[in-house]
Symmetry: D3
Subunit: 173 residues, 6 copies
């Protein structure tokens, strides 16, 4: 299976914040944004895998800015690393209020997906071949994020998480 670059899975999604997406303060509800991010990330993962994909996990997402009714949301997604039968997708989210001219970087997040064949069995995916300096940083960091997911999911003991320890406790070294 031939490897692929992040560019090949690059996906852009724009959404308009409509009334039903907001709470009584006219702010976009976090769950609605998580839903859109999942769809954008799934399209990106599909482009890399050429397969049906299902969400395996979402990493910690924090919502720093309130996004308002009528804002334009832009979600950019691309695969940051491929594992045997799964991919990690990096998401960047912006919110623009066009009439007032404001634009903020709203979120950064990682979703992972598993690739399935038509019977629903896991199937191998192409390798990711990062090209730019930024893509290589994302690619390298994916190991640490994966270790954190495994520890939080109770599938790895913290002692085995070599890369994660190096990041979290660098000053100790």
């Amino acid at each position: 299976m031939k490897g692929k670059t992040p560019k090949e899975s690059h996906t852009i999604m724009n959404e308009l914040v409509l009334p039903n997406d907001t709470n009584t303060l006219n702010n976009l509800m976090g769950g609605r944004l998580l839903h859109w991010m999942d769809i954008a990330a799934a399209i990106s993962a599909q482009k890399h895998c050429n397969r049906i994909v299902v969400t395996a996990s979402v990493d910690n997402v924090s919502f720093k800015h309130s996004i308002k009714l009528g804002d334009v949301i832009t979600i950019e997604a691309k695969v940051s690393r491929a594992f045997t039968t799964s991919v990690e997708v990096r998401l960047d989210v912006w919110a623009q209020n066009i009439p007032s001219g404001t634009s903020v970087k709203s979120n950064e997040a990682y979703y992972t997906f598993v690739a399935l064949d038509k019977e629903g069995n896991k199937i191998n995916v192409p390798e990711l071949l990062p090209e730019t300096a930024e893509e290589i940083i994302l690619y390298d960091g994916a190991l640490r994020r994966r270790q954190l997911r495994l520890i939080l999911g109770g599938k790895m003991h913290p002692d085995e998480a070599t890369e994660l320890k190096a990041l979290f406790f660098s000053v100790e070294k």
Copy 2:
């Protein structure tokens, strides 16, 4: 402000998995579940705070089982700890396929919310008073989860995360 027990914010939500919630394998899409979980958690947080609340973050969520079209989703939410102007909500999610008689624990997750007054300013929330042994464990763990959120959000240096270090690297001590 009088403290409240977790029972006072206990919220149960049932949803039926409809065609538009599923992918082409007839599996519930992860983002749709994250959206429902956000609504259930927001109702729970509102009950504790008696205020409008907005999502501040969602912790790492993993999706271990595929959930099918027609399944009944049950989401239970209750506040696990209150901080000055925010609360952490613990979620447990089950999926039941009634005609086939199967039921699985699908997810455990934590969402945090900030309480706002009508002008959208942060406002103090009541303390949480855990009662049962399980509620006390969730209450105690909230500090560690908060440190992890702050580190992942770039707002805390790993060295300051005393509780988190104790958990992750207990064997080192």
Copy 3:
């Protein structure tokens, strides 16, 4: 087939009133509530029957209080009586406005469902075994409500409706 208690079909659903659920006075539209009640009742009926169920009828529902945008709706459903191939489900609906601290009992209603096998044929359902005093009252009243449904549907002559007559015209006796 072993009988079941009402507790086994007890179902709680919480919904947030969103903009699209409301009219231009920001009041929840009655039809939207009837839709949610149908889903909650169907989940409850499914739990009792362990089968796919379809709505057979809804009894007279009256809407006494206006419910506002942002309110939290709580619907509780449980089977009140089982007949040969159908069940009657009792619903209680509350509306809470959390920031203002108000809560009203909004509706009481009865939906009936028919249980079907995978080919869509009617199929026998377990008996209902009421336990509490309130459940026994609901169970007994189900006969009268059924007679009223049959009369209104043109399937029974009023003279045959012994239980209904006893209720409606007790002073005549």
Copy 4:
């Protein structure tokens, strides 16, 4: 206030049964139909009252035929009687499966609405002036249906329901 004929509030609504409107047997869910009927009836009531209207009640509705995915639903609504600040709307519902050429009368129902001014206060509505023989029958029957609603809502004692008794127990006379 000048009276109005039923023709002036006549409203026709067509809807296509889409996947999300159906259960796992591909049958239209009853609650979805109740929702559409409420919108059609509200439009009809608005046309009569020239006011914002809110649903006050729905009478017993029974679902006799299963309606399938892809069917065309036709709902006809017209005001059957006006009271001081409310109207009763009669609904007739058909389901057509066009490729197979079948069409069934699916439901008959009555919804009542209260007319409100912009502050949400009840306000008087025009009288209904029935014209055809069928409209006069619906107009006359409205009194009986109203008495049944009041009895079921606990607002009238059965003894006072003169018109209802005449219908239900005609053989006794």
Copy 5:
């Protein structure tokens, strides 16, 4: 195959403009109206063809009046001409604001549909037999509109569009 009159495909659809259908000025979004028009026209085309139909084209539509939240939209559709395997549907759209008593003709439009059998192959449709003077004018104009569609789609050279030329350049003759 027996021909059919326009009356046999006459379809009326009423929709209420809900918050999610509007932009931040509370005006109905054009795309939402185009979506409703497509459903109304498809039902009309189905009635003529007794077949599944798919949209083949929509002609130029202009939106002259702003339509507000809470308005009632009335869409009338009927087949204006049948070709071998397709039909042209004429749509008239009105918007009514009932509390303020205003009503405007909002749009006139033409959608075309192709009839398909269950395998998705094109299939012949009944001829249209116009009856009234207005229906004959619509029937005659359909040829010109078809030529314009073919030219705009790059499938006809302007020189061949005899009927269209006669309309557009009548003064030249």
Copy 6:
């Protein structure tokens, strides 16, 4: 007001075709696509105008390929010409079926929008400054398309449509 390039209004939207977007042959309904195209075009027009915009018209759109459930729709939009208070937006639409590896150019279309201030009055918009050869062709063609819209809307006599005549009847010259 400083002019803007087409690049500044370039907007990409990806959507996944879900069950409710399809007919009983599992094909995307045309009206749903027109709705998505309107949102993508409105975002693009907003970016150019920095204003709230409302749809003024959609030009003839034809649907040449059936798009299936689960396909990924990609819509690209950019402003092709600005007039005094309105802009024309060019749309290109692709449909990709990722598991089967197929991708088709599904549509090309033009939507026009009017820019409004907060009171809903028309307001001047920046000029468009085309850069590439393709953008200049789109810019030049906008005059002809505008004349066709005006003629079809009954606001221009065919004789005045100099640019349109040149295109349609070039062989006559």
